[in-house]
Amino acid sequence: MSHSVIARAAEATPPGLARRFKGLSDRAIAWSFVAPTIFLLLAVNIFPLIWTIRLSFTNFRANRPNAEVEWIGLRNYDRILTDSDIWQTMQATAHFLCWTIVLQVLIGFSLAWLINRKFKGNDLWTTIIVLPMMLSPAVVGNFWTFLYQPQIGLFNYVVAFFTGADPTSFSMIGSVSLAPWAIIIVDTWMWTPFVMLICLAGLRSIPDSIYEAAECDRASKWRQFWTITLPMTLPFLMLAVLFRGIENFKMFDLVVQLTGGGPGNTTTLTSIDLKREAFEKWRTGYASAYAIILFVTVFGLASIYVKALNKVKER
């Protein structure tokens, strides 16, 4: 394999094509290769970020581009941090985040642990389980509203089948108490395979020899699980939680299609609230301050978490 590549490289006559690059030093190539990427990211990410910071100190409204823009200092930030509605939104987001992570870690880890038994056909089942994760959350979320309909929806019917409850007696997305769980169920359905795949990689990274040694020392299976399996998959598990945490903090498409934030404000997660402020109420300055607060929160939490993750890895 390696031989043929070198041979192929040697056989081809060094052509005059790309002669322009011939004189380029490694340094020049390095820069010309990296520059377009960095430039594009600066233009589409950093420049807008700076613009957002600037806007956050003003009362600018994007639907009135000609109105006079006033510099109002920190008033937007002050209004957001003292607004009780926003704290309610944060609570809804925290509820969604915590429960999706707990459920996905529990189910995902258990599935990975089972799949690691290497039974027949496990590739096939794994592939089937993984499918929901790759699909468009907006399109799938929209269809789930159909599955959740009382009477005609499959979900209610399946629940009724197992519990004996009347399928018309509850509406997952219409009821204030059930709606937060409706979004948790769909997110868990969709993203459990993600956690599962990462845990599976973790479980497979543990060499058999460790278990063999434990077996020789007559450690019980239970003890092996707590002293070998769990600690050795922990870094993987934490990585999965990091990804899910960031993704679900940003959650928009799935939930906006499922419940649109309702009923009332029960499932209004921060991204949905932000979208309303920015693109429905057109309070651009206020929404910019809101966006900055969210960004700082994600970034801050993620960096603390990554530090903890690195500590676990070093152990």
Binding site: V5, A18, L40, G121, I152
Partner: protein, 312 residues
């Protein structure tokens, strides 16, 4: 593998594990099966109570998905008998086809924007990944982290200034604008994934080529690129799936010309509320390619979803 291993699970354990996993897989696939099945139901069957598992297949949903229809009188039908199978389906409900729907257009937008942005982000990503992998780039780690951190921003937060920027540049609701935006969003993924793939190609190959008189650029195109082909292909599929599925930017920045399928499919409305067979038909056509790609990609799946952090 021969002989007895104490770490090998017993046959009974395997059976129980297999049964539990199979049960989960069947439950988890149900909603997807239901989408595909609903696409082939008639409107009456789709909203039947209890939900129908066995039904007479109908292409009504697909016909509704691709056409717009208007009501007509009995006299009109008497003078215009239906000529094709789809006209017959429509006429059985007292309607006639008025023209094509926008679904085809929206689907094509998804294709154009998806492939355009994938090509660009993989192209730029390969160059950057090669440079990060092989050369001493000052502040390399910081730049790599910066590239990754662009993914942490909630899309809605970036959407405000991008909306303003696109408006002043005339890029709102254009294919070019969306391609540019998705390229930028996907760059973090493509650089990180491709750097991992290129890191795995031994440097000796290029060194041999350089000794043979190749320039660095030729060594890159003639030696490294063919070696990285699998990695580039799977990165491209991940980028494509992301662009294909993206909703937040699409719903905020496009409304007509450049609108992709995800914001469009949920807005398919029938005569009374949402036309579920048509929605399901649209969803099926939209989701199937991704399912096929997922099956093709299953070996690299883990790597793709973790930005190359876990390689198996």
């Amino acid at each position: 593998m021969s002989g007895y291993s104490i770490t090998e699970p017993s046959l009974r354990q395997k059976w129980v594990a297999g049964a539990l996993v199979a049960f989960y897989a069947i439950v988890t696939i149900l909603p997807l099966v239901w989408i595909i099945a609903t696409g082939f139901k008639s409107s009456a069957d789709a909203i039947a109570y209890p939900p129908k598992v066995v039904f007479a297949p109908s292409l009504e949903g697909y016909v509704n998905l691709f056409t717009t229809q208007t009501r007509q009188t009995a006299e009109y039908f008497a003078s215009h008998p239906p000529e094709t199978w789809y006209e017959r389906i429509v006429q059985s409900k007292g309607l006639t086809i008025a023209g094509p729907s926008r679904f085809g257009e929206r689907f094509m937008n998804s294709v154009i924007i998806g492939f355009g942005s994938t090509f660009l982000s993989v192209f730029l990503g390969t160059l950057a990944a090669y440079a990060f992998s092989r050369f001493k780039v000052p502040l390399k780690d910081d730049l790599m982290f910066f590239i990754l951190s662009t993914r942490m921003m909630p899309p809605i937060a970036v959407a405000i200034p991008i909306f303003l920027m696109f408006r002043s540049l005339g890029l709102s609701d254009t294919h070019a604008g969306m391609i540019l935006l998705y390229t930028a969003v996907n760059l973090s993924l493509s650089v990180w994934l491709l750097k991992g793939f290129i890191d795995e190609i031994p440097q000796e190959y290029e060194e041999a080529a350089l000794i043979d008189g190749y320039t660095r650029f030729q060594a890159f195109t003639k030696v490294v690129l063919p070696q990285a082909a699998t990695g580039i292909a799977s990165t491209a599929i991940f980028c494509l799936i992301f662009a294909w599925n993206e909703y937040a930017f699409a719903v905020l920045l496009t409304s007509g010309t450049a609108q992709t399928a995800p914001p469009f499919i949920p807005t398919i409305i029938g005569n009374a509320g949402q036309d579920w067979p048509a929605v399901a038909a649209g969803a099926t056509l939209f989701l199937l390619p991704v399912m096929v790609f997922t099956i093709l990609l299953r070996k690299h799946l883990l790597r793709g979803i973790t930005f190359g952090a876990v390689r198996k």
